[in-house]
């Protein structure tokens, strides 16, 4: 039978929490709130704390003494009977919707002091702070999995995760997951401040204060007016088809170059990393050509490729190729030797090791390389277009300058930035999708 509740001293509570998993990992502020819905109780030996089938309302932390915890057979626990001591947590069925009733019988063996936390309140607190809630629940999940094997229970935990976040972790889009966390932090507001400062300064420096060098620059109002006007003074705005033609041209070129570089660069890099002989013969030539800046190739490319279009794509391809091949090679190098040895032990042939260990193992590096490669593609493309193109955003920027259409320069720059960012993001999303295992690992780590 229960003893009388004792008055709670918050500091003492905090101390107990800090010695217990998973509450250790939570901030003090959150712990205080949890302390507010907790209270201490003492039990005498022989007292039944709860029985299987009782309503599951509270979670318990053992402060001192010994409790025997006996699970019902149909729970299929690894160890149905456990003796719980100071620091152990039990009664967490209170956190699970599907299990409103107790799964076990908890009896006090030795005079015990416990802390009881109201399950509903705790859940509410964890939901209010997604970061802390996430960490606590994933630690709970780990602890529970170590002892129990009921698929239902484990599925239940996942649904708690789901409750805490808007997105389903299982097949989830990690970008959405990140976005939902981000919206709840102070970061969006600081970001707005940053942009306001930047744009504000641009506006003031060029149009209001007319500072010495700044007054010749295109002003932000001029740029925006031009961009959204249906009949732009200089011929390029969101409403003109030429705008999209130029964007399309640039994007198409980058796409061609990027795919070519990936199809050639990834296998090349994989073999460089995988075969020492291959590397010894081919890497020196690769490394000798690489220091030559891509743009130094421009005149030669024009000579080599009679058509300027091919020259532009070649230049873009080259930059991309270097980045992809190099990063892929580093990816293969980075694979822990143990994985390869394990595969050898398990009877895999050389080709099977390549397919099942090398390629997936290098994938994270490969995708980093691909993101860099996209960025580098844009870099070379713009330069190539500025020097020798006839369409495209680089061309637009260059001719806008020579034809004194200053606002269009800025439109071109901004468009370049946006398109470049989107292509990079697409590559990252594809990588995230292919490497689900990495995200789940990160998600479980409570980040």
């Amino acid at each position: 039978m229960e003893q009388a509740k004792q008055p709670v001293k918050t500091e003492v509570m905090l101390d107990i929490f800090k010695r217990t998993m998973p509450f250790q990992v939570v901030s003090d502020a959150m712990l205080r709130k949890i302390a507010a819905v907790s209270w201490r109780v003492t039990y005498e030996p022989g007292a039944v704390i709860y029985d299987a089938g009782d309503k599951a309302d509270d979670i318990y932390i053992v402060v001192s003494g010994k409790i025997e915890h006996a699970l019902e057979p149909d729970v299929q626990a690894r160890r149905p009977v456990q003796t719980l001591k100071a620091g152990d947590v039990f009664g967490w069925a209170a956190l699970l919707e599907k299990f409103p009733a107790r799964l076990a019988r908890a009896i006090c063996i030795e005079r015990a002091e416990v802390v009881r936390i109201n399950g509903d309140e705790l859940l509410r607190l964890l939901e209010s702070d997604p970061d802390a809630g996430d960490v606590v629940m994933s630690r709970f999940a780990t602890m529970i999995r170590q002892d129990y094997t009921v698929p239902d229970l484990i599925a239940q935990l996942r649904s708690i995760h789901r409750k805490l976040h808007a997105a389903d972790i299982q097949g989830m889009n990690p970008t959405l997951y990140r976005v939902s966390l981000w919206l709840k932090s102070p970061r969006p507001y600081l970001m707005l401040i940053g942009f306001a400062l930047f744009l504000g300064f641009w506006y003031l420096a060029v149009e209001v204060w007319k500072l010495p060098r700044f007054r010749e620059m295109p002003g932000i109002t001029g740029v925006i007016k031009e961009w959204i006007s249906k009949d732009p003074t200089y011929g390029l705005s969101l409403y003109t088809p030429e705008y999209y033609e130029h964007i399309g041209m640039s994007v198409w070129r980058v796409t061609q170059a990027f795919f070519l570089a990936t199809i050639l660069g990834v296998p090349f890099g994989l073999f460089l990393g995988w075969s020492k002989t291959f590397k010894e013969y081919l890497f020196p030539v690769f490394e000798t050509l690489r220091p030559i800046p891509i743009l130094a190739w421009v005149p030669l490319a024009i000579v080599m490729f009679v058509a300027t279009e091919s020259a532009v794509i070649y230049l873009t391809f080259l930059a991309s190729f270097y980045a992809t091949a190099l990063n892929t090679m580093l990816g293969v190098d980075s694979i822990d030797e143990s994985y390869i040895r394990a595969a050898d032990c398990l009877g895999a042939s050389k080709w099977q090791v390549f397919r099942h260990v090398i390629v997936p193992g290098a994938l994270p590096f490969i995708f980093t390389g691909l993101q860099i490669s996209v960025g580098v593609s844009w870099f070379s493309l713009v330069a190539a277009e500025m020097v020798s193109g006839q369409y495209g955003l680089g061309y637009v920027i260059n001719t806008s300058y020579t034809m004194v259409r200053y606002p269009t320069i800025v439109i071109g720059m901004i468009t370049l930035g946006a398109v470049g960012y989107i292509t990079s993001a697409i590559v990252r999303l594809v990588g995230d999708y292919l490497m689900q295992w990495r995200l789940r690992e990160l998600a479980m780590g409570g980040r």
């Binding site: 102070p186 970061r187 507001y189 600081l190 970001m191 401040i193 940053g194 942009f195 400062l197 930047f198 060098r213 010749e216 620059m217 002989t277 010894e280 013969y281 890497f283 020196p284 030539v285 000798t288 220091p291 030559i292 800046p293 743009l295 130094a296 190739w297 421009v298 005149p299 030669l300 024009i302 000579v303 080599m304 490729f305 009679v306 960025g375 844009w378 870099f379 493309l381 713009v382 330069a383 500025m386 020097v387 955003l393 680089g394 920027i397 260059n398 806008s400 300058y401 200053y406 320069i409 800025v410 071109g412 720059m413 901004i414 370049l416 930035g417 946006a418 470049g420 960012y421 990079s424």
Partner: protein
């Protein structure tokens, strides 16, 4: 594991591969001279069918041969304006790179250390980052009074982004236990900055610098080519190595193009190696693993 300081087998293989490469280059670029022979008729027909010109191998056939390049180089080495180009390009690279380091490292550290500064500054930084440095050229020319300054600014932008990203990434990845150890030994915030954040970020700064250096060369060469017409003194030595290449192209001496390309490659390689050696000197603890 047995390892020798100089692995002769891999060096030999490397040398062989470069020699083979140069030989293939030589043969390919002289294809105009031998592709006309009768035994190659089917090859020529195939090229024609694919849409290429029939009298030389595609792409490689248009490139000057290594022997021609060496000849041109011998001719240019005695020309002081060639070395002037080296000097000018190197100076621009140094200027832009140093500016990027001097501004980028403190900026990066500020972002990494202060969460508010990060929240305000990083989004703007990230939004501007995808704009390629060369897209800034016209704006830069409008803004800066002299051509040199506008080139320097664009060079600065190129390296700046890389350095900041690496500094921020490096500072963030410092193992949190170092901070905890310092705090438990009673360090002040300034101490922690000086003795943990700075040295801890140093390896990333070195990496960022090395990559940034490569980008700087790219941008300098491009900027020199783009504002190529603008070099006042004329001849080959006016505007740096990028201008040298462009001028050679315009003037029709294709061998000199390749001379210029290789020169820049060498210059870039030397500067990267210098940086890497400096980097190793500055982070001695990384050498011993």
């Amino acid at each position: 594991m047995a390892r020798r300081k100089f692995d002769t087998r891999s060096i030999t293989r490397g040398v062989i591969s470069i020699v083979v490469f140069v030989i293939l280059w030589e043969i390919g670029s002289r294809s105009k001279q031998w592709l006309g022979a009768d035994i190659f008729t089917p090859v020529r027909d195939a090229l024609g069918a694919m849409g290429f010109k029939k009298n030389y191998l595609p792409w490689i056939g248009a490139v000057p041969a290594p022997t021609e390049v060496l000849q041109a180089w011998a001719g240019v080495i005695t020309d002081p304006s060639y070395w002037l180009s080296w000097y000018k390009s190197s100076l621009r690279v140094l200027a832009g790179f140093t500016a990027a380091m001097l501004i980028g490292i403190p900026f990066g550290l500020l972002l990494a250390v202060n969460r508010t500064a990060f929240g305000i500054g990083f989004p703007v930084f990230e939004v501007l980052r995808p704009i390629p440095p060369l897209a800034w050229v016209p704006a830069s020319i409008i803004f800066w009074p002299t051509q040199e300054l506008s080139i320097a600014f664009v060079t600065f932008i190129g390296a700046f982004y890389t350095i900041v990203i690496n500094v921020v990434g490096g500072a963030k990845s410092i193992d949190v236990r170092y901070f905890q150890a310092a705090q438990s030994m009673g360090s002040s915030k300034w101490d922690i900055f000086r003795r943990i954040i700075l040295p801890g970020t140093l390896p990333s700064i070195v990496v960022g610098a090395a990559v940034g250096m490569g980008i700087t060369w790219e941008v300098v060469v491009a900027a020199e080519m783009i504002s190529g017409g603008g070099s006042q003194t004329g001849g080959t030595g006016g505007g740096g190595l990028g201008f040298f290449i462009w001028n050679s192209y315009v003037g029709g001496s294709y061998q000199q193009i390749v001379v210029g390309m290789i020169s820049i490659g060498i210059a870039g390689f030397i500067s990267s190696e210098l940086l890497r050696t400096l980097g190793k000197y500055v982070t001695p603890w990384l050498r011993l693993r």
